[in-house]
Every structure is written in C-alpha cells, then in structure tokens.
Amino acid sequence: MYRKFYILLLASLLVAFLPSCKKSPVSKTLIITGQDDSHNWKASSSQLKLILDGTDLFSSEIMVTPEKGGDMQTFTPDFSKYDLIVLDYCGEDWPDETKTGFEDYVRNGGGVVIFHSSSIAFPDWKEYNEMTGLGGWNGRNEKDGPYVYYTWNKLVIDTTQGIAGSHGEQHEFEIRTRISDHPVTKDLPVRWMHGSDELYQQLRGPAKNMQVLATAFADTAFGGTGRHEPVLIAVNYYKGRIFHTTLGHAEDENSPAMHCTGFIVTLQRGAEWAATGNVTQKVPADFPTAAGAVQRTDLKEMTLAKAFENIGSYDIEKSTKYFTFLRDQIRKAEGDEKILVKLEKKMVDVLKDPNATNEAKKLILRELSWMGSNYCMPVIKSLESDPELADDVEFALNRLQK
C-alpha cells in the first residue's frame, strides 16, 4: 500500500520536474529550396539542415519547389505547421495563395531565415522585400529603396540612383559586429574573419524595422564598393522576426563560406532568435576572431569528450584547437568549483597518459598551475624526474604551493 503510494509520489515528482530539466523546445523547421541556377541549392540546403539540426534546437525538413517552368500552383506548403521557415530559394514566383499564406505566417509571429541567394528572390513581392529589408539584382534599383551601408563607423541611408546587387571575387573577409546588444550578436567578437565567400554589396530595399547587425568591408582590391556592406540583418515584420544572412555561397558541400564557424554560429543563433525571440546558445570557443578564419570540417561544435580524446596526441603545428577549447571551458566555468575540478581530473588523466606528448603535458601544466587543486599535486610531482618536463613541473608546483 505504502509502496504504491511512494511510487505514485515519485512518478508525480518526476513529471513535475521534467519540464524544468527539459532543454529549449525544438523548433519545427522547413527549409525551402530549388530552381536557382547560379547556386548549388542541393549542397547548401542539405548543409543548412545539418547546421540547424546539429544544435538540437531545430528539427528541419527540406522542401524542394517544382522545377523551373513546372507547375508552381502545386507549391502550397502549410507554413502554420512550422516555427521557422528557412529560405534558400531564388526562382519563380510562388502562387498568390502561397504568398498570402507566408505573409500571414510571419505576421502572426512566425520566424524566417533569409539565406544568401534568397536576398535576390521575389523582386516584385512587396511584403517579401519588407521582410528581407534589403535585396539585390533582378531589376532592383532606386524604386525599391535606398542603399544601406556603413562608412567607417557611420550607418548611411543612400538614396542615390543605381542598380542593386553585385559582388566582387570570392575571398576571405573581415566582418564587423555593428550591434552587440542584439540576442544574435551578443558576446560575439566585434571583428572576425569569415571564410572565402561572395560579399553581396549595393543591396537596396525598404529597410523598415531593420537592424544591420554586422557588416563586411567590400575591399576594392577584390572588386568591392569600398563600403562596409550589411551581411547580417534582423527585421521585425508585424509579430514576425526575420534573420537575413547574405553569407554562405556554396559551390559544393565543401564551401569554405558554409564551413566557416562564424557563418555556422550566426546562422544557428539567428535561426533561434527568429524562431523564439531569444538565443540560448553560448558563443563557442572556435568562433573566429580578427586573428583568422576558422573552419569546421564536419560542421559540428567541439565537445569536451572530443577535446580530451585528442588533446594528448595533439600536434600543435597542425592545430591548437583542442587546447584553446580547454582554455575556453576553464574561462566559461567562471570559477565554479565543480566544473573546474571535473576539468582538472581530465587534465590529470592526460598527465598520467604515457602516450600523451610532452608538448600537451606542458600546456596542461601551465593551466593547472593556477586552476588546479590538491588533486593534481601528486601526479605533477611524479613528473618531476622527467628532465623534459622538470621546468614546467617546477613552474606549476611553485604556483600551486603558494
């Protein structure tokens, strides 16, 4: 009798606690692609899905529109089933009914990501252009709105007549975060290098309820305008939120633009903001800086397990990423004893590992020298007799014993 009662109590407690343990709800996501001749949409859409689903915040499916010249009237997705619509599409107009459905979806608070070539789509669809803020090509000009860009550090709304949309040759370029207190860009470096990409420039549009979150300098040496062109844009359209990234040109699955950690992370953050209004993701250790672009070959974020699996055998001439990841984890612990001790144990395992290189051990010793506890001392002392490590051991012990 009592047992039954306790089981029931336990069950109800579990149910009561479950929601608080649950991660952020997964956003149902629809990626719409197809038709575009100048972009490899098969490659880009599959990568967008991998990038978004890689966060556990999205569950996405890809929908391909009818082929060019096909019957567009059959393209009638039910947007209301989704929390987020990602557009990787530049092709024929959608049927009016679908357009209206999309407008209603966004107006009622639906989230949208406008990706790269979608900056070019639908030049004559007024509401779409209000959602993207800025666009280019397809006959756009001054009738569609002003140019928007930054000079050195000033936002310019430029109504000069002229074409909209162009780009120079692909190259690595520096991106400058212009608004740092937006959920998408909070805690991002102010300056960071982006993998080789097309840099869209001379975009124009209604630019209403729009924030230019980041720009890139379009260097004239690469056929650029010499202006700081918007690359990440946030737009509010009625209750809906639109994240617009002009980045991510893909010739195939290996494009440096889509494998750039900066692209991946801003897309993930922008998508979360568009879908929910918040960003819960932390800026990862491998987010690029002004020091250089960073690529994720598998599109995935480093994990602690992966870092410690590799850190001991680590050839620093190839990469220091495992070690810089560890340092980032230590910083992110913000002095939390439990996290630091957990990291310390794993670091001590590397010191104990006969297969770990001295190079790795030396770097571990430097970190332990300040963040270690008594736990690491015996193992550090045991390395004292190794002439290769003696100086580094003494350095660590000297600090730890203070």
């Binding site: 470096p189 800086t289 020091a291 620093i316 020298s369 100086d391």
Partner: protein
Amino acid sequence: MTKKTSRRVFIRRSAAAAAGVFILPEIIPASAIGMGGKRAPGERIVMGAIGTGSQGMSNMRDFLDLKDAVQFVAVCDVDTRHLEEAKKTVDTANKNNDCRTYGDFREFLEKESLDAVSIALPDHWHGIIYTEAANKKLHVYGEKPICRTIKDGQAIVAAVKKNNIIWQTGSWQRSQAHFRRGAELVINGRAGEITYIEVGLPDGGRGIGTPPVIEVPPELNWEMWLGPALKVPYRGVCHWDWRWILDYSGGQLTDWAGHHVDIANWGAGLEHTGPVEISGKGVYPPEGIYDVPVEYDFICRYANGIEMRVANASRLKHGMGTTWYGDKGWIHTDRGNILTASDPKILEEVIGDEEIHLYKSENHWQNFVDSVRSGSQAIAPIEQAYRAISVGLLGEIAMTTGQTIYWDPEKEEIIDNPRASRLLNRPYRKPWIQPNI
C-alpha cells in the same frame, strides 16, 4: 634629494677610477672636448642601453637627439645584429669606435660605470633587469609596461624606491602638451565630477598559426632571450612578435595600458591607487601560437565610485585613447594631437593660479636627463606606471578566470580567490631568481 645626484654620480665614478676597479677606455672621447657651444663633457650623463631592438634604438636616438646631454658608452643585447647596429649608432655619435658591447646584462652591469641606463626589453625580463639596475644605483629610463606580473611590479617599485634612483617610464604621452592639457582640465573639474572613464586600446591582429621549429639563427642567444620564461623551442617568433604570446606579454592590452590608462589615472587622480572590483571578457584566438586576447572589454570600479572601462578600440564610441565622463560633459584625448570635448568651450577654459597644475615636460627624454641632473622626480615615475599596468594585468586575470576579481589596492592583494591570486605571479625558470621586495 635635489642636486645630490650629479655629485653622487661624480663621486662614485671618481672613486671607482681612483681605486682602479675597472680598467676601461677613457669614457670621455677626446673629440668632444673643447667643441664650441656644447655642454662640458664632464656634465654629460654617461649612459648605456640594455635591449637595442626597435624600441631600444628608438629611445637611444631620442636621447642622442638631445645634443650633448648624454653620452652612450656601452650597449647590451642578446642579438648580435642589434648590438652591431647600436654600436654603430653610438660610435657615429661619439665619433670614435669605443662603444662596448655585451651579450649578458650581468657582465654589462658589473663592468660598466654609468650614471644611467636605458632599458627596452620584452616584459618577462623587466623584473630581474629593472631591479638589478636599480640596485646598482643606476638611474633608469625603462619601457612600459613596467612588468609582466603584479609581483614583478611590486619588486620593481620597491627597488626603485629603496635605491632612491631617478626613474622615467617610457610612457612619453605624458610629455605631450595635449595629453597634459586634457588631464589638467579633468583634474580641475572642467568636465565636472568624473564618474566614468573609457580607455580604448588597439584591437589584436592576425594570427600566424604555429610555425615549425627551426634552428636558432647564429646571431641570437635564444636561451638568454627566454631567460626566466619557460623553455620553448625556437619557432622564429622572437623580436617584436613576442607581444602576442602570454608567456612574455598580455598583448595590445598590456602594451598600451601603460599609455592610455596612465593618462586616464593622471586626469582622474587615480595614480596612487587601483580598482577594487574588476570584471569582463576577452576574445581569444581559437588557433595558433599567438594566444593573447585579440579583443578585451572589462570594467574596473574604484573605491570612490569611478568606473573605468578598458576595451579594444573597435568596441568604443571614441575608439582609441582616453575619455573621461563627468557630470558636466566629457573630454577625450588620443595620439595625433587629439583633444576634444562634449562642449568645445571646455577646451578654452583657463586653469587659475590656485588650481592644480600638472607636472610639465615638453620632451620625455630631456625630462629624464634634467631629473637626473637635478635629482628631482621625473614626469613618469615608477609607482604611477605600476598602477597603470596593474589595471591591464588585473583585467587579464578577470578574463582568464572568467570571474569578478576583488582587489585591495592598499595591500595589493586579490581578496578571497586563491586561484586568481596565483595569476599575480609567473614563477621563474632556473637558474633565474625572481626579485623580492
């Protein structure tokens, strides 16, 4: 101690010569004697230089530009190319071939009989060489930041004070009229009561990955260059670029804190204290041998309530330089003769006779020479330099630990955080012994 110095120097040199302790070539070149309109050779300050790379040579040229104020007689560097260039410069100035060269500062300090020394070395060497030079009673022109760690800084300040030498920090912005004017307006309340200060320092630059280990070039004594720092194989990263590696420097932050934080402190009257609470974040490169933060942004709160934000320039409205914010407006100053204010009228204000007049120097190197002659304090003394770099170093600790750091500026201790406290020091590698207070 006014006027004592030159006599003390004279006596020491004469005594040494009389005792025949050093057998050295005549330090006053014959060519200098009897040249019209020049200072008598005996009144020139006899100097040596330790560290004759880019900044060391720049300082030496600034001293030589003073015309007959100083005479260099010896130079010391761990790179023979640096030594050759320095000797050539000195010999040309002295019109002889007598400049002595040393690869080891210990021999330099032991053998040379000097009045003063100009020192420009990587930060990890400052602790030992600044204190050794002070203990030899040499007056020092020393490059900023004066220390790599708080502990080194404390030892240097103590040595300079104990030996009662003249110290000039290479924070030459103090000797520029517009920086002084900005600080003087602020300290006299022309921006009102200061509540907030922004200090913009340079952004970090591109990385280089991790270059391969290569043979040490014959001209470089790599072991001596590393000195008290941990031993690492030579990867071709040495002169100049040591600044991007944490073993030797804190990056742009610690390089420049000695300039713009120093100016901020000067104007806000914070020269003899430090913050009580420091918190902020750094952005670190994910890849490569350069591991200093490329971006940084932290806030220091002082006991009197003033908050100072120190960040890489791209994060701040005014970019590089110092901006003081008071209840009557703001004043901003930077290199390139920049002095601006929220209201241009502030800049026309006259500072009355009864108000605070900051120390005035029109030439940083001349000021050092004058101070050595007169025995009075130079414009950029050691304590002020230590307080300026402390801000950078405490910011570095806050960013490294990811924590808010509580600092006691009187006892010069981190409060209640043993882990962060360990970062106040970088232990020295044998056989080098860390200077103590």
